[in-house]
Amino acid sequence: MIHFDGVCLSYGDKAVLKAMDMHIPAGVHVALTGPSGCGKTTVLALAAGLRRPDAGAVTVNARRVAYAFQEHRLLPWRTAAENVNLVLGDTAATMAWARHWLALVGMAEGADLLPAELSGGMRQRVNLARALAFGGDLLLLDEPLKELDPHRRDSVLTLLRDHAFGRTVLLATHDRQETEALAEFTLDYRDGTFVPA
């Protein structure tokens, strides 16, 4: 499903990935761990096709890729429900589905609020609802529980685990609980590449 062959990527003088090889078969859930700024988000961005490697090749055999971004990336002028509906076809008919996904992440009451009216944790849940609503065979999760309240974490983790079933998941995280709950394999950052922990 995901193949990184000799991938190199630098930001200015800083080499983040050095000839990284990674092969993830379809349906497998993998967590990328490592210190902040080591390149976990970069690997997700490469897998999503948002970055190009300086050298090497990235091949992703997925029909649809859903990405729960670390920074939420919600359209500020659209309500939570409209943000989710955007990836469902953005019609009046799909709005009920958007609300359904928001209800699943415990955001039924904030569905008609704008992102600026939501807390960081609520925005994160909208971001997750959008990714889950989009579906797809590859799910990219960038620190999905980072801003969630402790009492929300378990329910959202269960939801993610249920909806990740049968899909390939690439998870960037610092969180042990996330790793243990969602990933079958863990790759740890070491000197420009990710190796089995």
């Binding site: 948002l50 890729v65 990405y67 971004f69 920074e71 990336r73 359209l75 955007l86 008609d112």
Partner: protein, 255 residues
């Protein structure tokens, strides 16, 4: 309450300046130099009672609005194209900078040789509005959040959806600001072009002839008409934008 307070302040300011005008006209005592405001108002009312007055105003207004609308359209298209294609930006940027820096009078005199006098004011307004809209919309496109565009790419939004849902709301305030500036600019440059080219049925021609025959009251009356049209258009535009904004927020989903 606040709106009525603002209106009262505006009316107060208007009354003050009309008072200054009245006092000055009485002090000077020569209507040929400065007619009194009541004389101008009387003349304006008398002119407004004729069909020709409204015909001339409508034709001038149409010409100016057509030029402004074409300028806005071309400005938006140029901004999108120059942001999309770098070579086009390299080719068009100097030209647009030249247009922006060239005095209106030079354009009018040059264009008078190339095009007919009836369409010249329209062309001048177009040339004045285009760089303003282009500059503002370009800034808006450049300021559009790259992370939102990446999100749109990942979720495979169509080009139309990206234009409507991401660029539209992001660039909208820049375009509105450009339109607001352009409205005033369009009136000034359009009427100036009419004064110099004197097309049939134009406010500019009336202004020129008033000056030619030393009809200062007419000159002031027509100028007052230009000012009132400009203010009315600005108010209309602001009301339209407010209404569109309200419809958007009420419609929410809005297809």
């Amino acid at each position: 309450m606040r709106r009525s307070g603002t209106a009262a302040k505006s009316l107060g300011a208007l009354a003050f300046w009309l008072g200054v005008w009245a006092v000055l006209s009485v002090l000077i005592g020569r209507p040929l130099l400065l007619p009194a405001p009541w004389t101008v108002a009387e003349r304006l009312l008398r002119l407004a009672g004729t069909a020709a007055f409204w015909h001339i105003t409508a034709v001038s207004l149409g010409r100016i609005l057509l030029g402004a609308a074409l300028g806005v359209l071309a400005g938006v298209v140029t901004a999108v194209a120059t942001n999309r294609y770098r070579f086009l930006n390299a080719v068009l940027s100097p030209l647009l900078s030249v247009i922006r820096a060239t005095p209106v009078a030079s354009f009018i005199l040059l264009a008078l040789i190339w095009v007919g006098r009836d369409i010249l004011p329209c062309l001048i307004v177009f040339l004045m509005v285009l760089p303003v809209v282009w500059g503002n919309v370009s800034a808006g496109v450049a300021a559009t959040d790259g992370q939102l565009l990446e999100m749109a790419r990942v979720y495979r939004l169509s080009r139309w959806q990206i234009a409507r849902r991401v660029y539209g709301p992001s660039v909208g305030p820049y375009l509105l600001s450009a339109c607001h500036t352009s409205l005033g600019l369009a009136w000034k440059s359009g009427v100036a072009a009419e004064v110099l080219t004197m097309p049939a049925f134009s406010i500019g021609r009336q202004l020129y002839e008033s000056k030619l025959y030393m009809e200062m009251t007419d000159l002031f009356a027509w100028t007052a008409m230009v000012v009132m049209c400009s203010i009315a258009l600005e108010k209309l535009f602001t009301a339209l934008i407010r209404r569109l904004g309200r419809r958007r927020s009420m419609g929410g989903q809005g297809q």
